[in-house]
Amino acid sequence: MDLVLPDFGLLFWTGLVFVILLFLLTKFAWKPILGMVNAREEKISEALAQAERTKEEMKALQAQNENLLKEARAERDAMIKDAKETASSMVEEAKSKAKEEAEKLLVSARETINAEKAAAITELKTQVAAISLEIAEKVVRGELSSDDKQTALAQKLAEDINLN
């Protein structure tokens, strides 16, 4: 029977010990522990939020980067195109210039040749005329060296004239 009857002494000690235990644990254990756990939980959730924010920022930054990259690429493409154009135009120009020059050279060469030719021809003509004159002189001299010959010639000429 006394198994289920409370004992006053033990009841007293239980009460005393439990109340002291409750007080001490609340003050020196539960409050610091739960406080720290709460602080940690807050820290963790804050860190998570921070991570989320950073992620967003990273995303924005990445988009920005992409844009920049795109721009840069476009710029580069434009530059390359420009350079190519310039180069090709320069080549073209050089080519045309060279052609022109060649043409000019050709023309001047031709002119020179023509001039030379003309000069040569003129010279040749004068030379031929001189030579012809000389020959003619010599021939004439020979023809007219005797009276017979002069008479024959005059006769022949007179025959050629032959008053028709």
């Binding site: 198994l3 002494g9 239980t14 439990f18 720290m36």
Partner: protein, 382 residues
């Protein structure tokens, strides 16, 4: 917890069946003992005593003024705990003066049976101890009627075995929690390591699954320290009680569970709001005669809830101790190796089961306390 939940039903059934089985066996032995008593008394000074299982078990699960370690009742080793009594001033002396006192025999006035009690010697002179209770001797005698001593009881504040165990479990809980708190104080709000890694999940379990789950979200914080204290005190006491030799049936003592249940009752009553009391004294939504009829029923309900808490913890832990002791006793009753081979694994099985029950009962006590408090502070919306 998951496994425990699934096997809970099975376990509890096994437990109750075993208790019932033992109750019978115990009685069988008790009847036997009655006839053998005379023989046993004569034998105390001579040859080996007959082993009496119910006496041994009752001796172990009840409170005592000594901490019996090993050996027999008279030649064994015990720690004699201090006795503090209030009788014309505070008196304090070692319980040695009782246990090494003078065994006296008295005849029961009603049944004419011979009963034995111990009269104290030295500083305990003038007091007698019968079944661990201290009485004042009248003319050097203690009278008995119907097996009960009829002497004047003195107020006993002794540091009994259970009180010592109470100090021990309070100390263990404090050591455990203070070192956890120290860890956080030293390291700040960081992830737990070492001891804190073990205690923190349990603390958070009590906070989240017991307090937060049952009490209104804005009000639960106030009750967390109480629930934590009650949970850890019961759990550690239950576990310490299971240690052989060093264990004491602390939470299987009705005084302890009574106090804890009264605490829960007081917390519930003092935190009860208008709606809670309204539901008890003037149940809304029912006709007036019914309201009057419901009032006493609801009032009794307020008391039966903590009463059930008290009985549940007491009966579970006591039953556990009884089963383990009874299984071990099988060896000494039969004095046979084969029975030993059977009883030791069974006792081991029940011991392991008791580890689970130790946690389960602490959890249930805290859980139901939280449930009652939660019902008391709940805001009703009609």
């Amino acid at each position: 917890m998951t496994i425990s939940a699934k096997f809970n039903a099975l376990i509890l059934t096994v437990l109750t069946v075993l208790v019932a089985g033992f109750t019978y066996a115990n009685h069988h032995e008790a009847g036997h003992e009655m006839t053998e008593e005379h023989h046993e008394v004569d034998a105390t000074h001579g040859e080996a005593k007959e082993f009496k299982v119910d006496e041994m078990i009752m001796h172990h699960i009840k409170d005592a003024h000594e901490w019996h370690l090993w050996g027999g009742e008279h030649d064994g080793t015990s720690i004699y705990l201090p006795i503090i009594i209030l009788d014309e001033g505070l008196k304090m002396f070692s319980s040695k003066h009782f246990y090494h006192g003078e065994t006296k025999t008295a005849v029961d006035h009603a049944t004419h049976e011979e009963l034995h009690y111990i009269a104290g010697v030295g500083p305990a002179e003038g007091y007698a101890m019968f079944h661990e209770k201290i009485y004042k001797l009248e003319n050097g005698e203690l009278a008995f009627e119907d097996g009960h001593a009829h002497g004047e009881r003195v107020t006993d504040f002794s540091i009994t075995k259970n009180v010592a165990a109470l100090f021990l479990s309070a100390l263990v809980v404090m050591l455990l929690m203070f070192s956890t708190a120290k860890y956080y104080k030293k390291n700040g709000a960081v992830a737990p390591r070492g001891l804190a890694k073990f205690t923190e999940p349990i603390i958070l379990f009590v906070r989240d699954d017991i307090a937060k789950a049952n009490i209104d979200e804005h009000k639960y914080k106030k009750y967390v320290p109480y629930l934590l204290t009650i949970f850890f005190f019961i759990w550690i006491s239950n576990l310490l009680g299971l240690i052989p030799i060093l264990g004491s049936n602390l939470t299987g003592n009705i005084s302890v569970t009574l106090f804890l249940a009264v605490c829960t009752l007081l917390v519930t009553v003092f935190s009860g709001n208008k709606a809670y009391w309204g539901h008890i004294f003037w149940m809304p939504g029912v006709p007036v005669p019914m309201k009057i009829f419901m009032m006493p029923i609801e009032l009794i309900g307020v008391l039966t809830k903590p009463f059930a808490l008290m009985i549940r913890l007491f009966a579970n832990i006591t039953a556990g101790h009884i089963i383990i002791l009874a299984l071990i006793s099988i060896i000494f009753i039969n004095k046979n190796i084969a029975w030993g081979a059977l009883s030791v694994p069974m006792a081991l099985f029940i011991s392991v089961l008791e580890l689970l029950v130790a946690f389960l009962q602490a959890y249930l006590f805290a859980m139901l306390s939280a449930l009652f408090i939660g019902a008391a502070v709940e805001e009703h919306h009609h």
